[in-house]
């Protein structure tokens, strides 16, 4: 990611509802789905690779087993892992981002505000 681009807000303003008696279950479920998402991304990439390689007659199982990682490949992978961690733990960082928000309006108050007739 280019550091010249502005950082976007990752949390929607407004109190987040939780559904289970212990909100940590919601947090875990959120992380679980993010993890499933990242797994799906990886599988899609693998699928792409295999389809391209097969179409070009390039792929053999022996090539994959014999492949050795160089420094560049290791760095690329480490950077991807960081994106993965950020995605998986997004709910935690979003809550922290929320702690800095100055808006303390209760959601019910927002509803009352927009429903008011005058």
């Amino acid at each position: 990611m280019s550091s010249a681009e502005p950082k976007l807000k990752r949390r929607a303003k407004g109190k987040r509802p939780f559904y289970f008696s212990d909100p940590d279950i919601d947090r875990l479920l959120s992380m679980l789905m993010a993890l499933a998402g990242e797994l799906s991304v990886t599988r899609d990439r693998l699928d792409t690779l295999e389809r391209v390689a097969q179409a070009k007659g390039l792929l053999s199982q022996a090539d994959i087993e014999a492949f050795e990682l160089d420094e560049q490949a290791l760095s690329d992978r480490a950077a991807r892992h960081q994106v993965l961690f950020k995605e998986v733990t997004r709910i935690i960082s979003a809550e922290l981002e929320g702690l800095d928000d100055s808006d303390a309006t209760e959601y019910a108050e927002v509803v009352a505000q927009v429903e008011r007739d005058d």
Binding site: M1, F18, Y19, F20, S30, A94, Q113, V114
Partner: protein, 385 residues
Amino acid sequence: MPAAYKEQMRHSALPETTHDELARQHFVRSFKEHLVHQVHPGLATAYEKRAKPSFEATHQRAPETIQEVASVMKQDSHYQVWSSLLRTSQEMMWSSAQLPVERSLSSLIARARKRCSTGSLTLDPKLPIPAYHTAVDIHCQPGGYHTEYTADDVAQGAIYDRAVYLYAMGQMGENNADMGDSTINWLKANYPDFSPAKILDMGCSVGHSTLPYASSFPAAEVHAIDVAAPMLRYAHARAAAMGFPVHFSQQNAEATSYEDNSFDLVVSHILLHETSSAAIKNIIAECHRVLKPGGLMLHVETPPYEGMSPFDTFLFDWDSENNNEPFWRKSHQLDLDGLARDAGFDNPVIKVMAPSAFQETQRSMTFQGGDFGGGGVWFIYGCQK
């Protein structure tokens, strides 16, 4: 099962995605489809077998209101799982649409800047963003419609364009145009001789529903307003990329700068539920003011709650409390006739269900949280001046 997988039309203003960014978006869409088709149906079972009997045991009658259904369903484990997953899918959707935009914002802005010869764009940096937009970020888009991160920003619009496609799971067609297309179909079937020369789309966001009017009425002058500058900049670039001359202008639909009796047709699409009781009166009155005598006002929404069972209403109402749509509930329970009368309309009020123009949409005729566009019909509210 969901319809065959179709992708959004790749117009040149749409953010480009890397392989993995696109895969992340595809997962979100599949996640949402899974919730609609595999998890949501279990809610009715959970209600009939567990929640409703539990209410009946205490009250000797079935639940009659949203609040009564909520009092038992919110305790039900299947409802908790569905809600928690649906909320998470919404957050993942925005995140997956944000990532490519955040990475490439300066080039998106540069591309949007180049396209200024088609139609027009008039911004008003002094226009106040109404409280009903700033109190919470509507439907959980971080930063809402209006946030600007840098000069000439298009980020919120670019994110919204892609996210709406994922949100509707493609059920609004390759250009997210179903609400506009469906309304025009209805209009042409019911007012065959109506040929508007001047059209206004209120709360246009990125112009998903605006462009169908430019396409169907090529001789008409099409104007579109929104309070959010990043939406309008992107909308202008998108319209130009798709070859439609639309005049975009940063204005609040409650009080516009247009002259009295100046439009033949004034429309909005899912605008009203994102305003307030006070604002909606102003908007309907403003429609009446800017319409020519004989002109038509048409607002497209999801249908009012009236006539739905308490359980269906409870599920359809999910967005009110769970997706930052604070006016959703009230906006589905309005006195629509009274609103039109108070604004000066005398003709019979139009309250109709218009079938979806997008043929692939399954017409389930049911409305549920998390299945936007899946009902296969839209509700049109309006009146002729």
